[in-house]
């Protein structure tokens, strides 16, 4: 599968990663290399082999439905990101984490 610069820009945008024009070309080369590796793997005959969704052939451990987490809001909110307006204070108010206004 041939990737284009546009594909790189689209994937970067979806992942909210900033990729400059010059980086985009280098990233295109790297990603194309990865895709060719996948193409090689796809050439392997896997008839009759159950697909795996995880590299380890184990099943999920289940947790009992018991409350184990204490309220650590104070601790967590000390580390909240700052507002970005020059203040280094964590952007929290009334127990809420603050973010730039979300417009519905």
């Amino acid at each position: 599968m041939a990737l284009s610069i546009e594909d790189i820009k689209k994937v970067a945008h979806l992942a909210r990663i900033e990729v400059s024009e010059s980086d985009a070309a280098a990233t295109l080369t790297k990603l194309t290399g990865i895709l060719s590796l996948i193409e090689q793997m796809q050439a392997v005959d896997t008839t009759g082999i159950e697909p795996m969704s995880h590299s380890q052939d184990l099943s999920q451990r289940l947790r009992d439905d018991v409350v184990t987490k204490a309220n650590l809001r104070e601790e967590f909110q000390k580390n909240a990101p700052a507002l970005g307006n020059g203040s280094a204070e964590p952007a929290v108010a009334g127990g809420l984490y603050l973010v730039p206004k979300v417009i519905e």
């Binding site: 099943s59 409350v67 987490k69 809001r73 967590f76 809420l96 979300v102």
Partner: protein
């Protein structure tokens, strides 16, 4: 041209667990912001999700209840998108391999206008486990949005139907049935105001008789059945009008505005649907064995369909009555307890669905906390059956019991205590039906003497005059005379 509407539903049911789907944080409703948002909920680096056993059992219960295939192996996937109430940048959900596969829900679509009620089967495509997102709070701080992550990670079972419904009435009947079912099997509290049961409705229209599905629009987050009806009816009209005016339907997500009764497309988020799902490497496949299913099956309550069939057979109830009594477990339990305490089944059904339901609706009291317990109702019905009370007297006694009984006092009483309680009411209010034939005869003699004109009319062939005389006799006895006896004695006297 005649149009046909095609509807499919996606319902998010919040599972009745103590903790989140992937962490041991509480999910109790109404806590202070972020006091139930642990390091997993707020997505601190290095944390790992661990699946809640109870959430899995809820999913198995639902699968068993709708007779669905339960996947021996299902896989959690990451659904990637960016929004402030989703701190990880992805929602853990299930994509290619959901825990519950194809099943079906059968329900009664109620009569509307000239159309009679009918049974309808809605096929379930799948149901999958996923985590809820947090909440954005607007207006707390000027120019900012506040994020509360208490809800983030709350376990949800998303239940998806085939596009099987053909009217708003069918869609609402399905949603109500599903709402009853998830509460019946105890996996969801069904509280729609608190968001425990939220429906997204996909609506499209096509010329009647054609196969090809029209372009659909999805109405998001309907949390009342009334709004669902309004939203679907508006959306259907809008789509038909648009097409008839030569327009086309663009696939879109729309919101229903209860104030205007209209649906309106949300600003389409750029590439919003490119979620780039992939298996979550933090979670191993969920394996469910036959033994796991058997263990859950052993704890399952009798399902409403089975109970309805049993009620019809065991208590000789009509399909309508049996259906109405099995809309909730509390209601069904109340009925059974009333009959077990000695009441006639048909009479119990009538009183529970009539006077009691009206009273509960009027007062907003749940049947499990009814002022009149099943024992108290059974004692009332006993006195109705043995002729102590006439129908009118029973109605008065019912009102009297309702106001004088408190829920806490009656939960402990026995049937004997309930009977002496109703007997006290009957005595205090003078409700006892007069069945002494001598006393009734005396009343009738007086009525006949005072209404000679009516007697003449009757003898001249006017049947109506007889009923008028019965009425006079009942009135003279202050409604306490046994009407059957009044009829008999009056007939004898006039012949």
């Amino acid at each position: 041209m005649e149009w046909e509407v095609v509807i499919g539903l996606e319902t998010h049911t919040q599972l009745k667990t103590n903790t989140k789907i992937f962490s041991g944080a509480s999910i109790k409703y109404g806590a202070e912001p972020n006091t139930q948002a642990c390091e997993v909920s707020i997505a601190l680096p290095g944390v790992l999700p661990v699946l809640n056993k109870e959430a899995v059992q809820c999913a198995i219960k639902f699968g068993l209840a709708i007779n669905a295939h339960i996947a021996p192996r299902s896989v959690f996937a990451r659904k990637n998108y960016f929004y402030p109430d989703l701190p990880k940048g992805y929602q853990i959900s299930q994509f290619e391999l959901p825990v519950v596969g194809k099943g079906a829900v059968t329900m009664q679509v109620p009569a509307v206008g000239k159309n009679a009620a009918y049974e309808k089967v809605v096929n379930i495509t799948r149901a999958h486990l996923e985590e809820d997102a947090g909440k954005s709070v607007h207006g707390a701080v000027e120019g900012m949005s506040g994020i509360d992550l208490n809800r983030a990670g709350t376990p949800l079972l998303e239940i998806v139907t085939e596009p099987d419904m053909r009217s708003a009435a069918e869609a609402v009947a399905y949603a109500k049935k599903l709402h009853e079912l998830v509460q019946w099997i105890g996996i969801c509290d069904g509280n729609m105001q608190e968001g425990s049961f939220r429906c997204d409705v996909n609506v499209s229209v096509r010329p009647k008789g054609t196969e090809k599905l029209g372009t659909r629009r999805e109405i998001k987050n309907l949390n009342s059945f009334k709004f669902m009806t309004q939203a679907i009816e508006y959306e259907t009209r809008w789509q038909i009008e648009t097409l008839e005016d030569g327009g086309t339907i663009q696939q879109a997500t729309v919101l229903f505005n209860p104030d205007t009764g209209e649906t309106k497309a949300m600003r389409s988020k750029e590439e919003a649907n490119d979620y780039r799902y992939f298996p979550d490497p933090d979670l191993l496949p969920l394996v469910i064995s036959e033994a796991d299913k058997d263990a859950v099956r052993a704890k399952m309550p009798e399902l409403p369909e089975a109970m309805k069939a049993r009620f019809e057979a065991q208590y000789a109830l009509s399909s309508y009555d049996a259906n109405a009594l099995t809309t909730s477990r509390d209601l069904a339990n109340y009925f059974v307890a009333t009959v077990d305490a000695g009441a006639d089944a048909k009479q119990a059904a009538n009183w529970i669905m009539g006077a009691l339901t009206a009273k509960l609706n009027e007062t907003g009291i749940d049947i499990s906390k009814s002022n009149i317990s099943s024992l108290a109702l059974a004692s009332l019905l006993k006195r109705l059956q043995d002729g102590t009370l006439a129908n009118n007297g029973a109605k008065v006694a019912f009102e009297e019991m309702w106001t004088s009984l408190s829920a806490s006092a009656i939960s402990t009483v026995t049937i004997t205590a309930s009977l002496s309680f109703i007997d006290e009411i009957i005595a205090a209010k003078g409700l006892k039906q007069e069945s002494d034939s001598g006393a009734i005869e005396a009343i009738i003699d007086e009525v006949l003497a005072a209404n000679a004109a009516m007697v003449e009319e009757f003898k001249a062939g006017k049947e109506k005059a007889f009923n008028a005389l019965v009425g006079q006799a009942m009135k003279a006895s202050k409604g306490k005379a046994n009407p059957a006896q009044v009829n008999d004695i009056l007939k004898k006297k006039l012949s």
